[in-house]
Amino acid sequence: MIKVDHLSKSFGKTKAVDQISFEVAGGENLILLGTSGCGKTTTLKMINRLIEPTGGKVLINDQNIMDQPPEMLRRGIGYVLQNNGLFPHYTVAENIAIVPRLLKWDEKRIKHRASELLEKLHLDKKYLNVYPNELSGGQQQRVGLARALVADPPVLLMDEPFGALDNVTRSKIQAEFKVLDELKRKTIIMVTHDVQEAFELGNRICLMDKGKVIQNGTPTELLFKPANAFVKDFLKEQRLQLEFKALRLNDIWKYLPSQTPKQGSVNLHGDVSFWSAIETFKFIKTEHLHIKHQQKDDYRSAGFEELMSAFYQYKKHQPHE
């Protein structure tokens, strides 16, 4: 879907982005992760040509982005900014209507689409006619998201979209974000410096440092097959929590006991994270999880101790541990 090929950007003598390449498949959620100044935002902005690259190319659906006028390119790419970038002199409805009006939609269609999106984003319709400064930070960010999604672009670029929010609001919006059907079909590239957020939301994470890609892989790969000491070091702080969140039950399948389900078991899919599995426990006796494998017609059943033990087994068998 999106192919970034030896993309570079220099500002004077400093190389902000140095010959990086990666690919994002359709419907995938790629996170550009790194500390500030690593070149992740510059990379993102080169994809919709807010910054023109000094070398390399970007293909979206096999089409070079440099072959289209930037305005036309951008109308097909949603963009969400950290500080929401809402127009303070436009109402919420007008803000959402910006791209459809550029695309010359008729007003009825715009109205319909705007109220549909507000509903999906849990915003009351009464907010349509208020100005952004009358909204809370979380509401503003939701409107920013609605504005990016309104014309249903296949690609969505997000620059630290939750960075300016307080912790409580952020986790709430992140949770909504994960289940939003509008986003499931989209190819998303998101920039963040927040490791937790990257592991929470990303299908794949592209860890960057000093303008280069250090490792590009799934969260599990980054944790358990780190490319070098930098990756390991970068994830050190919250390692256990990240492992819990990154591991799916499918990953530890072979360490789980296969036994007949006990009465009162909770049914789970194999693709839920280890963290969510633990969260389902209410810590009463004889409590068991009944787990169905995603692809195979196979079942496992486990209590809390058995689950923890499977995790331990898995860790023990990792080559680098």
């Binding site: 807010l50 930037p70 305005e71 929401n84 970038g85 127009f87 910006i98």
Partner: protein, 523 residues
Amino acid sequence: MNEQQQTLWQFMAQQSDKLLMQTLQHIGLTFISLIIAVLIGLPLGILIARKKKLSGSVLGVAGILQTIPSIALLGFMIPLLGIGAKPAIVALLLYALLPIIRNTYTGITGVDASVKEAAEAMGMSKWQVLFKVELPLAMPVILAGIRTATVINVGVATLASYIAAGGLGEFIFGGISLNNTNMILAGAIPAALLAILFDFLLSRLQHLNLKKLKTATATLPMLLFILACFYFIPSAYGGKLTAGFTPEFMGRQDGNLGLQSKYGLKIHTIVISDAVMYKAAFEKELDVISGYSTDGRLKAYGLIVLDDDKKIFPPYYAAPIVRDDALQKFPELEKTLNLLAGKINDSVMTDLNYRTDYLHQNPERVAKDFLMAHNLLRPERGGSNGIIRIGSKIFGEQYILASMYTMLIKGYTDYDVATKTGLGGTKICFDAMTNNQIDLYPEYTGTGLLAILQPSQKEIDAVTGDKEKTYTYVKNEFEKRYHIKWLQPIGFNNAYALMMRKKQAGELGVKTISNLKQYLERK
């Protein structure tokens, strides 16, 4: 009618049609120049917000324009654009440029970067970003600039009357020349009120919320345009000939008022400063002007004086007037000043004035040459027995006379001299004298009578027919009222006079003011 006893309100009521006309002209001038300044300043501000490298030089040039004294800027305009509305508008718009350019620049560069980025990222073109995002968000700051420019323009527009562009300055400067406080206030108060009113209205506009601002900014150009059109309402009443009168002449009984009451002369009139009046007549921008009969430019520009057949212009014999206490303090002063008595007749004075006004010779040189030719010049004694302070009004003849007196005093006495030349108008000169800031200056009998003493019409009629009677009257009254002495007259009569181009007057067969009236009334 005694003008001193008239209240301001009566004056304004009496002059209401003139006041209205001047106010309309004033508003018109302000807004014509403002519109043009916006049309130039806004795009320039946008340009330098885009290309920041240019901002230093553009803002620098606009800043320098702002520092030029307004009267000097008007002066620069005359050789380029002549007189009238054109140079006044150009000068005003140059003043209005800086606040508009600077605020446009500040407003646009101050727009939140993330909002601009969002606009671009959504696929807006550069122009769409400008018109839908940058300009609307910068509008409060831009309006603040327009507001500043408007207030500046209302103030500077009072000076437009110097170059015949009209406006409330006509009353203000007429009043200063005529020593008429009511007239000054009749111009100054409306000008101040206009400034306050426009400032208030624009401040309201500036504080409207963003939504209403959209409609407001749409109607603003329309409103400005309508206000600008005010300028043309008064000039719609044109005539066969155009007269240019000085502000002082406009308000004097022995000036335009007399022309109207005694001759019944009705002519399309614009107000103009005497510095440019003669040239404007020569260049056919004006047909009739109010001049001084000894002015050197009369000769230079081929103008002739129309005969005052109904004798409305009283005699204006020049003589030095001196404070009594100065005469006592400096006993040799009177004798020295009288050395010049009777020495300069009309044609000699016209010639001397021609040399300064037209040939641009230094007044001191002209004075020296004259004294030398009449064997009056003596080497300076370098005396230090007290300092005599000589004043003069702001035109060539007075500079020449002041120079002559300086040389005489330095050559014949042991006193030293300090000169305060270029005091703008009778009121300023005379006030300086009564406040003991100068000891003497050359004054004219007619001015002393009408501008300073301002007696009743009956007394005026009784003395103005005869030059001796006028002189005696002012001499006695000045002594009585102000303790100021009129010394012996210098000889020439620098009376007011109506003038026309010799050629045009010949073609129209106009020799007297009555002829002029008859010509104007012929359809």
